[in-house]
Symmetry: C2
């Protein structure tokens, strides 16, 4: 039998994947599993969008435009205008989720063997998309201690190689919750110019910014508009991950042409999803306010829960809906599996994302986990109690840390 390709064999597998059958087994035993492991919001799309959806009266569902339906792109422009960005329909290519947008962007700006600089920890699937495109990642460490801020330009510069074609940032950041402001981003502009780099900015979580932090969109970063590629996501914006509607935005017509060539190969992004995304954009600002308020309450609930446990270290997220936490554990893969297999608290347990999945440098993330706060507050409380109780009984802890900061004090 012929073997699979080397790249298929090497393709990144999320640690969470390996835990799925274990979680299924746990549920079979009648144990409640709180899913904090996946960024799947529990909100619905705007009610007005469902209403419009049920009235759809079409004849046939033909191919849409490769670059996305013009009607939808126009609505998207109106949305961006309301956020202060003057975007034209011709500067947008609608993609099948942000995922496809990232892949097409990588293919457009980098050849096989080129590399892209990404601060780690980073969204695990970036590694997979880079593997698909044959692109290497130059990881650059950001640290818990300084709130996962962008490294200093001189540190970033040390990690740029002659093959580096772009810096890829996620803002707000998944998994760290860091929000880059415009002044943050301006600091790397000279680097982009000096080393002739593109800036790929994953803005999938741009709706979710807390405490009126001045969110910095790269769309209008002065002087380098031609270098910027923004990835956007209707699926995340409207809490409808199954839509698979995202997009690439760029002021650089060459980028739009490059991305469009890949878009044309697959003929069109999902048409019905675009209808729903378009109807959703007609919803009022109220929709976003309500969702953000609820996330903010969840965020505060968790921060309050954990504040009395110094062995749990966590920065309040500035954006997104993830907590990236340091725990007194030595092997986050083992801990997360153990939670599912062996730990029960009031007949329940939690499923977390091990920190190891967010780093490409081996050995990192072993004392970290990511929580997605996508559960109702009552369940979130119970899930947090589970985690706290679990840390009381887990055996493979970092004893040094525990001795310094004993549990429950």
């Amino acid at each position: 039998m012929p073997k699979l390709s080397r790249r298929a064999q090497d393709t990144f597998i999320s640690p969470f994947r390996k835990m799925l059958p274990i979680a299924a087994e746990t549920k079979k035993q009648g144990v409640k599993v709180f899913h904090l492991n996946i960024g799947q919001p529990d909100f619905d799309i705007p009610e007005s969008a469902w209403k419009a959806f049920r009235k759809i009266d079409k004849k046939g569902i033909p191919y849409g435009q490769a670059e996305g339906q013009l009607k939808y792109r126009k609505k998207l422009c109106a949305y961006y205008r309301s956020k202060g960005h003057d975007v034209e329909p011709g500067e947008i290519v609608v993609t099948t989720g942000a995922s496809e947008g990232i892949l097409f962007s990588l293919l457009t700006i980098a050849d096989a063997g080129d590399s892209v600089l990404i601060p780690q920890p980073y969204y695990a699937n970036y590694l997979g998309f880079c593997q698909m495109a044959g692109v290497r990642i130059n990881p650059i460490l950001t640290s818990f201690e300084d709130g996962f801020a962008l490294p200093l330009p001189e540190q970033i510069e040390k990690n740029i190689s002659p093959n580096t074609r772009a810096i890829l940032l996620c803002n707000p950041n998944n998994p760290t919750g860091k929000v880059y402001t415009l002044p943050d981003l301006k600091k790397i502009v000279p680097l982009l110019e000096k080393h002739d780099l593109f800036l790929i900015m994953d803005e999938a979580y741009r709706e979710f910014v807390y405490d009126d932090i001045p969110y910095g969109s790269t769309l209008d970063l002065a002087g380098i508009r031609d270098r910027v590629i923004v990835i956007e996501s209707a699926s995340k914006r409207f809490n409808a991950c199954g839509l698979r509607v995202g997009g690439v935005i760029s002021r650089n017509p060459d980028i739009i042409e490059g991305v469009s060539r890949y878009a044309r190969l697959r003929l069109s992004p999902p048409v019905i999803g675009q209808w729903l995304a378009q109807y959703s954009l007609q919803a009022s600002e109220m929709y976003f306010d309500t969702v953000l308020q609820e996330y903010d309450q969840r965020r505060k609930l968790l921060m309050k829960k954990f504040q009395d446990y110094p062995q749990i270290r966590v920065n309040a997220p500035e954006g997104g809906f993830y907590l990236f936490m340091q725990l007194p554990i030595l092997n986050s893969d083992h801990f997360c599996e153990w939670l599912l297999k062996d730990f029960r608290h009031q007949n329940a347990t939690v499923m977390l994302s091990p920190g190891t999945g967010f780093y490409s440098s081996p050995g990192l993330g072993n004392n970290e986990v990511r929580i997605a706060y996508v559960l109702k507050q009552e369940n979130l409380k119970r899930a947090a109690d589970c985690l706290i109780e679990a840390l009381n009984v887990y055996e493979y802890t970092d004893r040094r840390l525990l001795q310094e900061q004993p549990v429950g004090t």
Copy 2:
């Protein structure tokens, strides 16, 4: 400004793309353009599917399973069982259109630099998907004279190189209309075994086979079940290209695992499209019969129209909804552009696909065009009249051919 990647610059652009702005200009002048250039059926999905669709009462549209919704895959299995193939849900990965299925299959079985053998003429976008995956095409010529039959095994073998990982076939064939029967396919089995190759079989058009020709699905090709990867398409099956729902089917668990790894990176295929595809599978066999009957009438209409013009050479398609024609022209790109720019018949013209787009070997396809018979019969008649009239007045014809077989005799 940094340059685009080499591969983005080199990405295949369909000749039809270059003609789009010309067609738009023609329409602005009030001229009717008959679109025979794209395989976009003019049928609707089953009415019962729309009915179920309008009753959808969901809360939220979360990520679906990476491998596709289990409910939909089960319905798909029932469909295949009705066609005599015993397929299990675990042997299917639902993809975002057949396009994604082809890309994931290529990535799974071939590394960058490997090659795949494909008979030409072939569906133009295969070239693009191969470029995305860094895979080369070994083209092998099939000819008009023998109805685009599969070449003899010894001819195929000459084109197999040490880097060849698979043979890719399209059945029924786009653009040639050829249908491979099971005996046809059995002839290449020894080759697959001898050279340890996979067989990727694009069955997007499997619903469309005429004259009860015994269609050969590779799903159960004896002895090589583990080598076979079938690409399937709900979008084509239900004339709803905008759904973007396709799939990969394989009996080989390694293939399913490899394809699933890529599928997991993009999290899930479009969820709403799968709902509609699932509802559509509940439609009666009547739906397929009605569609096929109409296509058959269109096919016969065109064959009858062209039979009196010996300078138009065309084989009756055995499947699909394309005619691949030889015309007395010297440059099909020029002819197709000229039709849009300079030719009018009763204030109308036709848009065709130039044959050159279906070959990777330069110089081929210059006297060929592809027609998609996706128009109502009345319009199809007018479009055929346009084409016949155009050949009467077109100047850059192959005079030798015209002298032998003068127009209108």
